[in-house]
């Protein structure tokens, strides 16, 4: 089962030359056509490449444009200047040319009136109606069951979101973003609204899911330790206008586990990141 999933994500894109996620001299200005004082430069001159299978975190002070960055990768916002590409295809291209990405939010987007299983099936219902995917529904129903086990929600398929805890609802949101097997996952502070213990638990789960599915992940967080724990690289954005201030390589061994957090190297890296952060203020 795991191999099947892994294989599918590998055959997803033929071009391995292009970076999986690529920001090229990207600017984002709000209100660009208004009076000069009224426009806001959210992001400036962003150059960022994420390779296939990498786990990259983006950190920065509030309002530095992290969410804007992610929304641009998702194709929800367009860049004022420069280009954003996923798997070599510009994100603003017509829908049928694009590959699907998964977007995970800070708050669960499960619809109250659908069961967990039906919520997980929602994306493929929409995609299939629009002809973006072709497989049978039964194929996806099986996948939904697999995902329920993968995220640790076995047995909750027929529950309603209002019956679940915040952490469980977030797992549903993660499953929703995985069911159509996008090769790229964009995650916007997905664990930000959870308590510390659940967050740690879900961090481990996320790494496990990442190991098993080999996705490319761009992850936003304001928790510096979380960034160090999860990522291959950490990108630090400066306060508005957001620019890439620093990129830190995380050379911790994988697979990482609970004892990673106590290791010397982790503490060093965390201190280094905190230092970079402080120098921004």
């Amino acid at each position: 089962m795991n191999n099947k999933i892994e294989q599918q994500s590998r055959t997803g894109d033929a071009e391995s030359v292009d970076h999986t996620i690529s920001f090229d001299s990207v600017d984002k200005v709000y209100g660009a056509d208004a009076v000069a004082e009224e426009s806001v430069v959210a992001l400036q001159d962003i150059d960022l490449d994420v390779e296939r299978g990498e786990f990259v975190s983006v950190v920065g002070p509030s309002g530095c444009g992290k969410t804007t960055l992610l929304h641009m990768a998702a194709g929800i916002l367009d860049a004022t200047d420069g280009s954003v590409q996923i798997n070599g295809v510009d994100v603003q291209s017509p829908r049928h040319e694009r590959k699907e990405v998964g977007l995970v939010f800070q708050h669960p987007v499960a619809l109250e009136w659908r069961t967990v299983r039906k919520n997980i099936m929602l994306p493929v219902q929409i995609l299939k109606e629009n002809g973006a995917i072709n497989e049978d529904m039964s194929y996806y129903e099986d996948r939904a069951d697999e995902l329920l086990s993968l995220v640790g929600l076995e047995g909750f398929g027929d529950s309603y979101p209002n019956e679940l805890s915040g952490g469980m609802q977030q797992r549903v949101t993660i499953s929703q973003s995985l069911i159509y097997n996008p090769s790229v996952l964009l995650m916007d502070e997905p664990f930000g609204s959870l308590d510390a213990m659940t967050k740690d638990e879900l961090n481990l789960e996320l790494l496990r899911i990442w190991r098993e599915t080999a996705k490319t992940i761009l992850f936003i967080t304001h928790d510096l330790d979380e960034a160090v724990f999860l990522s291959d690289r950490v990108v630090v954005l400066s306060p508005r206008p957001g620019e890439v201030a620093d990129v830190i390589d995380i050379d911790l061994d994988r697979p990482r586990g609970e004892d990673t957090r106590g290791s010397t190297r982790f503490v060093e890296l965390s201190a280094e990141l905190h230092q970079h952060f402080k120098s921004l203020q």
Binding site: A34, V35, E37, E38
Partner: protein, 290 residues
């Protein structure tokens, strides 16, 4: 104008740009009105703008007098509704037993379509007599030189029309007072307990203030409903007030006048409503959530 900074100018430009579709639609409506009136052509189904305006001008003095009458009733109704609504709301919110005992009655009273109650109010005051609080010379005497002070007298009083208006306007503010007072968050209850606050002190310092945002936002409904109540009462009761003027216009088949009076009522009501909204906003401290 040298006073405007570039920023104010830009803001104004942006506001106009935003309101533009609305303005265009408004103009379109007016044009549509005139076109339909001309197409039908007989001024018997749709009065064109010229006819409407001239009818209004011809009876301008009557209109101003009647509008003043109606809206003085509205003011009385509104004040009664708010005062009684808040006071009774506070009492019912405080006394649990009373609330449970009167709850079915309140729901029933709220569900009754208010016009059927209007005759009752009117009969009571016809029989019992109304109470005039004071009279004054209305604005019409000043606007229209031909009008005598006697004709322009406005009486502020409690009668069938204003009490019925108060009845209709009463419920939004009554219910929102109760809801607001009972929504006082637990942490304030705890604070009160710790300080040893009496029941009255809890109301005075906490619960009443908790209810204010609810009351403020229900004022909008209260204004609207007071106006509706007064007009409905005027339909069946009085020979005074602007509500009766529409009936008169209908009975005499004067379409231009009917159109005109309806327009006047809508415009004055809207202005009244906006005034109330602005006053509430003005009185509300900055940064409030409502």
């Amino acid at each position: 104008m040298s006073g405007l900074s570039e920023r104010q100018f830009a803001l104004a430009k942006r506001w106009i740009k935003r309101q533009f579709p609305t303005l265009v639609t408004g103009v379109l409506f007016i044009v549509l009105w005139e076109v339909i009136a001309r197409v039908i052509g007989n001024n018997r189904i749709v009065a064109d703008i010229g006819y409407t305006v001239s009818s209004l001008q011809a009876q301008a003095d009557t209109i101003v007098v009647r509008v003043s009458e109606t809206f003085s009733s509205v003011i009385v109704a509104f004040i009664l509704a708010v005062v009684l609504g808040v006071l009774l709301g506070m009492v019912v919110a405080e006394i649990y037993t009373l609330r449970q005992m009167t709850m079915p009655l309140i729901i029933f009273a709220y569900a009754v379509p208010h016009p059927v109650l209007a005759p009752m109010f009117i009969i009571w005051f016809l029989v019992g007599g109304s109470f005039t609080l004071f009279t004054f010379t209305g604005p019409s005497a000043y606007i229209f030189p031909a009008m005598t002070a006697a004709d322009a007298q406005i009486a502020i009083g409690i009668n069938g029309v204003s009490t019925f208006g108060a009845w209709v306007g009463f419920f939004p503010v009554f219910i929102s007072t109760i809801t607001g007072m009972n929504e006082l968050e637990e942490r304030y209850q705890h604070l009160g307990t710790v300080l040893g606050a009496t029941r009255w002190q809890m109301v005075k310092y906490f619960r009443f203030w908790r209810a204010l945002p609810n009351i403020a936002s229900s004022i909008k409904s209260t204004v609207q409903l007071s106006i509706v109540g007064v007009i409905v009462a005027e339909f069946i009761a009085s020979s005074s007030g602007i509500g009766y003027q529409i009936i008169l216009a209908w009975k005499t088949g004067d379409l231009g006048y009917m159109f005109g009076v309806v327009l006047v009522i809508m415009l004055v009501s809207y202005t009244f409503f906006q005034l109330a909204v602005w006053t509430v906003k003005y009185v509300t401290p900055p940064g409030s959530t409502t």
